[in-house]
């Protein structure tokens, strides 16, 4: 399985391309990087990790099978791309990255079992993985017990902070607050209707959103409804929306339920061009299933859109498509997953060591200027400083950037006044 890591490098053309694009981030971080003499293994690895004079092993732990595979495949692809690019640049501290991929199979205990296997048996230096909150919650005690390092890509509910995790996605306040501010100002919105899937992330996100609407925006939440994961019947809530006529529908419905939700919304005659809808759960990946014609006009609050117009993204998108096919789309989480290997590499080089304790300590302040979303930096609380962006869904399944915060938003996993 580890051979896969090098497969993509066989084509000289591709390698050339990768070298070219890798140079973009490299400009900013070359000072201590690639072609310098590799330091001795004994110096950079004092805790018995899988590091040799020429190689370092990391783990990739996502669901390749099961219901989550459709979402997590993008993350796997992004992480493999990043690893390939880093290797093409000379690797990390002179060592090529080799990866071991494990399948969490959309099953939370399997995630815990595989994480333990990667740490205990394979001694991986870091794990790029997990997607759902449930899988992270299952893996977290394993990471803390065996002192591993996890790079977690998904936007999530916050209320967590660990020495052993770097959260490359947004926590809830980073995703929600700026978006609500924008829509309140832009659309004069005063009344909001919340619809979510019934689990921890939507519930926490809506709790934060409700406090913000009521206390800061002085608006009103006219309805808050939850549906089980996988639910496909939204008719009753759509009727309630029609009755309450909210200024904004705010949704965090996840996964396949989205397809039914937007189709039924359209069938019920709610025109998203006139009825503002703000979602924090639909990325380009989901639109692939929903269909652009069913969701065009909706606003999404993310930190990354495939359509972002900046030099980093302009090299990232073609490189991704080159490796994984023209038809693939890149959503917010896929981009965040791409940051994982890069941030790890930068942190290892800053720490001058693969040791987990040193990486955990060196992480705050690490900056990645080559990120497709733009500049990002790791906060003391192991989350990323990043911008909040609002995009509008178009017929072709892409988002048009409507608004972005001027500055990076500080991550605040335990927001005061929102709990």
């Amino acid at each position: 399985m580890s051979d896969e890591a090098n497969k993509g490098l066989l084509s000289p053309l591709r390698r050339k391309l990768l070298m070219g694009m890798a140079a973009v981030p490299a400009i900013t971080m070359l000072p201590r990087a690639s072609f310098a003499q590799a330091p001795a293994t004994s110096a950079v690895n004092t805790t018995g990790l899988a590091v040799t004079d020429t190689e370092v092993t990391v783990g990739i732990l996502h669901s390749a099978t099961g219901t989550m595979a459709i979402s997590e495949t993008g993350s796997i692809e992004a992480e493999k791309l990043a690893i390939e690019q880093i290797n093409a640049m000379g690797g990390v501290l002179g060592r090529k990255i080799k990866f071991i991929q494990e399948d969490g199979a959309s099953d939370w205990p399997t995630f815990a079992e595989k994480a333990k296997k990667l740490l205990v048996n394979d001694k991986v230096a870091a794990i790029m993985g997990c997607w759902t909150s449930a899988s992270r919650k299952a893996v977290l005690p394993v990471m803390e017990q065996y002192n591993g390092m996890l790079y977690y890509p998904t936007f999530y509910e916050g209320l967590e902070q660990s020495k052993n995790v770097i959260y490359t996605g947004q926590e809830a306040t980073q995703q929600i607050l700026a978006g609500l501010n924008w829509i309140a100002k832009e659309k004069g919105a005063k009344s909001f209707f919340f619809i979510g899937s019934d689990y921890i992330w939507p519930r926490t996100s809506n709790k934060i959103a409700r406090k913000h609407v009521e206390n800061v925006l002085k608006g009103k939440v006219v309805g808050e409804e939850y549906y089980p994961l996988g639910n496909t019947q939204f008719n009753s809530v759509i009727n309630k929306i029609k009755l309450t006529k909210p200024d904004v529908i705010f949704t965090d419905v996840v996964g396949g339920s989205n397809v039914a939700f937007y189709k039924q919304l359209k069938a019920a005659g709610i025109d998203l061009a006139k009825q503002p809808l703000l979602t924090i759960s639909v990325t380009e990946d989901e639109i692939d299933g929903i269909g652009g014609e069913n969701i065009a006009g909706a606003y999404a609050c993310m930190k990354y859109f495939q359509s972002l117009d900046n030099p980093n993204n302009k090299t990232f998108v073609p490189a991704f498509k080159k490796l994984w096919g023209e038809k693939t789309v890149i959503g917010d989480v896929t981009q965040a997953a791409y940051l994982g290997p890069w941030l790890w590499k930068l942190t290892v080089e800053k720490a001058g060591s693969f040791d987990v304790d040193k990486i955990a300590a060196a992480s705050p302040g690490v900056e990645f200027k080559g990120a497709p979303e733009g500049y990002v930096r790791i906060h003391e609380n192991h989350h990323l400083w990043s911008k909040t962006r609002v995009g509008r869904a178009k017929l072709d399944g892409q988002f048009e950037l409507i608004y972005e915060t001027a500055d990076l938003v500080e991550p605040d996993p335990f927001p005061k006044g929102y709990q």
């Binding site: 399985m1 390749a64 099978t65 991929q101 494990e102 399948d103 199979a105 099953d107 939370w108 205990p109 399997t110 815990a112 079992e113 595989k114 333990k116 296997k117 205990v120 048996n121 909150s133 449930a134 919650k137 299952a138 977290l140 005690p141 017990q145 509910e157 209320l159 019934d198 689990y199 921890i200 519930r203 926490t204 709790k207 089980p228 994961l229 335990f414 709990q419």
Partner: protein
């Protein structure tokens, strides 16, 4: 020992071999990580064992054993979670001293039904009694009305679905889809380090053998014979004056209690409990373990569980993107080629050879056979 009422000679040897395998060979050859995996697999063996009695002998196919596995597991997990949520461990929460997921769901006091679970004695009693009484209620409701066969299987599935939805929906009280994670200590004893895993493994193997003995006893008692008779010709047993429903309820309850013990051991060994063990899919998987092992064989259930789970782990480690197909193929192959599972293969091919070997050495064959149950007879 051949006249022992618990087992005949071949069964005695079988149990001995299994004991050596689990107590000596596996701990000596596997590292702690793999041994802990075996401990996890063996928690399902409890369920499979229960299914042998309930389905193999009693002919009652339950596709909802995950319910009882889950009830047992959640009882244990509630105790462990309470212990892990001491005020000191949870001081960053808005309400310290309650489990973290309650805090995330704006619950500020410990719900009433959680309170007794701070006592280990109560918890142990609950692990056996809650699923036992629940099975008694379902069993009484179904069997007294003579609901059986496919209808019963469908109803058990419905119960599994309902309980999953309940657990997921009431996330403030149950942890929802995330389940209960980060279980740490049992009465102050840390269950996470390696030496604790080893202790837990041997404790679990001990419990498993206790359950095997109970299963053997049931099988060889008059009760077991009535179960088999009932499976083969229910009306005839009823007309002979036996209360068929009561025997069915008993078999169903004992399977439920075994499953619950497995669930509780799961929470201890894995440090984790979630609704993904309660639903329809895991329940059917548990039936598959029994089917692969051979639904008429008590020891087969243990081997079947181990084999399927080993295959699952190693296939998924080797082929992360294709392993489900391999596993599916394995099941189809076993069911098509060996309807009686591993035990069937053993009984048809291996055992006769051994017998022949023994009888060729000993000129006087003593003629013992595995007579208590008509192996290979159809279940329904």
């Amino acid at each position: 020992m051949t006249d022992n009422r618990f087992f005949n000679r071949s069964e005695f040897i079988g149990i001995l071999v299994l004991a050596v395998f689990l107590v000596v060979i596996l701990p000596l050859t596997l590292d702690v990580f793999r041994l802990n995996l075996v401990a996890k697999y063996l928690t399902y063996a409890f369920v499979a064992l229960g299914l042998v009695i309930c389905w193999g002998y009693g002919g009652i196919l339950s596709l909802g054993q995950g319910v009882f596995f889950g009830l047992g597991g959640y009882c244990m997990a509630m105790f462990l979670k309470l212990e892990a949520s001491s005020v000191e461990n949870t001081k960053i929460q808005s309400t310290p001293g309650i489990p973290d997921f309650m805090d995330w769901n704006q619950i500020t006091t410990l719900p009433l039904f959680w309170k007794p679970f701070s006592s280990l004695t109560f918890t142990i009693a609950a692990i056996v009694l809650v699923p036992g009484i629940f099975a008694l209620i379902i069993g009484t409701a179904m069997f007294k009305r003579r609901v059986g066969g496919t209808y019963f299987a469908i109803i058990t599935q419905a119960v599994a679905a309902i309980l999953t939805i309940l657990i997921v929906g009431q996330q403030g009280y149950t942890g929802g889809i995330n389940g209960m994670t980060d279980l740490r200590t049992l009465k102050g004893w840390d269950i996470r380090p390696d030496h604790a895993k080893i202790v837990l493994y041997f404790f679990e193997v001990g419990l498993l053998f206790a359950c095997i003995m109970i299963a053997q006893f049931v099988r060889h008692s008059k009760l077991g014979r009535i179960l088999v008779a009932m499976r083969e010709k229910e009306d005839r047993v009823r007309f002979s004056g036996y209360s068929v429903a009561n025997f069915k309820i008993f078999a169903f309850c004992i399977a439920a209690v075994f499953a619950a013990i497995g669930g509780a051991m799961f929470a201890l060994n894995v440090g984790f409990m979630s609704p993904s063990f309660v639903g329809i899919v895991p329940s059917i998987e548990m039936v598959i373990y029994t089917a692969v092992g051979g639904r008429l064989s008590i020891l087969g259930a243990v081997y079947g569980t181990l084999l399927v789970n080993f295959a699952k782990t190693s296939l998924s480690e080797t082929f992360p993107e294709l392993w489900l197909f391999g596993l599916g193929g394995l099941f189809i192959a076993v069911v098509l080629a060996f309807p009686n599972g591993l035990a069937g293969i053993w009984g048809d091919y291996v055992q006769p050879r051994i017998d022949r070997l023994i009888s060729s050495r000993k000129p006087k064959p003593d003629g013992w056979t595995d007579s208590s149950v008509a192996d290979g007879a159809p279940a329904e």
